[in-house]
């Protein structure tokens, strides 16, 4: 059931500026007898912020893991930056991953490494694409300055607060200057003030670098502030799609369940 009309046809670019960076069509994924995604569709355009909302266990994280090849879908079409993810070999997939930033739900900083080493880690594989004259030290500092944590460069992840960890993870995501950033629950586990800081940071990054962002969340405040379009994922399919205002005004009970305070 399509509770709310999409604000535009999300499967086809409408103008040259609206070139798709992500296309997902009829994505299906099951775990044993439990179908999680039952034909999910999504198109993300350049410089666009799209939020995918859904209840816990609705398959949001599974969907973005399919985008970076961490999970293989049972069927469906997944294209990122013009390349069909399922057909790529290891080398090609790694190259594509250099253009995709991924912010994990729990930050996923490497415990045994300092903040500096955490940020240098993606450069090991993708050093060439940063240019022959690029200095890792400068790149690390620049990324940390973007999130306001240059002073934490030699700290260990265990010494950082939850908000700082999330910002360092964001800096690690930014260091390769990705064209598209995938955020998996960027504000989960954070207090409201830190959540606002992270959301503000995400907006600034989007404005500064012009990246496209796909944000997985069930934080309505996050969706309200950052989204240009929201896709509601219910029972493994797109249940509703529209702007925050459109969905907040919906009288559909399943949509209301998300947006009613």
């Amino acid at each position: 059931m399509q509770a709310t009309k999409t604000h535009r046809d999300s499967t086809k670019p409408q103008a040259p500026a609206d070139r798709a960076v992500i296309r997902i069509a009829d994505l299906k994924k099951s775990f044993g007898d439990n179908p999680v995604l039952r034909g999910f569709n999504l198109t993300l355009f350049e410089r666009e912020n799209v939020v995918v909302m859904g209840k816990s266990g609705s398959g949001k994280s599974v969907m973005i893991k399919c985008l970076v090849g961490l999970m293989a879908p049972d069927s469906g079409y997944v294209e990122v930056l013009g390349e069909e993810v399922g057909t790529l070999g290891r080398e090609e997939l790694d190259r594509l991953r250099g253009d995709i930033g991924f912010l994990f739900q729990g930050s996923a900083l490497y415990d045994s490494m300092t903040v500096r080493e955490n940020l240098e880690f993606p450069l090991r594989r993708h050093r060439k694409r940063m240019g022959p004259d690029s200095d890792p030290e400068e790149l690390v500092l620049e990324a940390l300055e973007n999130v306001g944590l240059a002073h934490a460069i030699d700290m260990m992840p265990a010494d950082l607060s939850g908000g700082m960890k999330r910002r360092v993870a964001l800096a690690r995501t930014l260091i390769l200057k990705p064209k598209v950033i995938l955020y998996d629950e960027p504000t989960s586990g954070l207090d409201p003030i830190t959540s606002k800081e992270i959301i503000g940071l995400m907006r600034r990054i989007q404005q500064k670098f012009g990246t496209a962002s796909l944000i997985i969340t069930h934080d309505v405040d996050c969706a309200r502030v950052i989204s240009e379009r929201i896709v509601l994922l219910v029972d493994g399919v797109n249940y509703a799609e529209g702007t925050y205002a459109e969905l907040a005004a919906s009288s559909d009970p399943k949509v209301e369940a998300f947006f009613k305070k």
Partner: protein, 240 residues
């Protein structure tokens, strides 16, 4: 686990080589296990000598003490005890570390950043245990023999020089080579089981605990199996 081992052999010789991580793991596994292995080896040497003394005296065979202790330590007790200690310390440590990396999505983060986590985390740890375990066994053997010599020196007035000369006279390549080869296999088993249990850890902190626990149990069991196999094969070549 056979497929996991097969994957290890497929990727271990493929570049890029994670040399820095390998050295770091050698330090973690070797240096940090050294004290435990040394203390245990020393006590084993002391106890084995103290327990054997009365019986050897009864049979008038006390002069055979260095031969008996030397051969039993080098052939069997040193490698097996060291491997069991390392199974407890290293396999559980690797299982818990990789398990927690799995549940906190650090392994996924590594994959997304373009680094092959199997190569970075698994091959380096298995190679480090393969290399470090024989070295730890050598240390344990040496310290156990020193402990034994100490008892003989204090209780029986045998000089250290005489004790060690007798031990080295009693030992042959048939004792040293199979024991050393066996230690490489022990290292492989410990590294493989720890990495396998951690890498495929189920979600949640309970899964991490289970990974660490089952890594120790399975590694210990497999060590005895490998021990039997190597002794069986060595018997064919060296007529033990």
């Amino acid at each position: 686990m056979a497929a996991f081992a097969g994957r290890f052999f497929r990727v271990v010789f493929q570049p890029p080589y994670e040399f820095r991580e390998f050295i770091r793991q050698c330090y973690q596994i070797g240096n940090r296990s050294l004290l435990l292995v040394v203390v245990t080896g020393f006590i084993i040497g002391l106890v084995l000598t103290l327990q054997s003394r009365p019986t050897l005296i009864e049979f008038g065979a006390l002069s055979w003490m260095p031969n008996m202790v030397g051969i039993s330590i080098v052939r069997e007790i040193g490698p097996v005890i060291t491997a069991l200690i390392c199974a407890g310390r290293i396999a559980s440590g690797i299982g818990a570390e990789l398990g927690s990396m799995r549940v906190t999505e650090q392994i996924d983060a590594m994959e997304v950043s373009g680094t092959n986590p199997f190569k970075f985390l698994v091959t380096t740890r298995i190679l480090a245990t393969i290399l470090m375990l024989p070295l730890l066994v050598l240390f344990a053997d040496a310290i156990a023999l020193f402990g034994s010599a100490l008892v003989e020196n204090i209780k029986g007035a045998m000089s250290f020089r005489l004790y060690f000369n007798t031990v080295f006279d009693a030992l042959s390549y048939g004792d040293l080579v199979p024991a050393t080869v066996k230690s490489f296999f022990f290292g492989f088993v410990i590294g493989l089981v720890g990495c396998y249990k951690g890498y495929y850890c189920k979600k949640g902190t309970a899964g991490v605990g289970k990974a660490a626990n089952t890594a120790v149990v399975l590694a210990s069991l497999l060590l005895f199996f490998v021990d039997f196999m190597t002794v069986f094969i060595a018997d064919i070549f060296y007529d033990l």
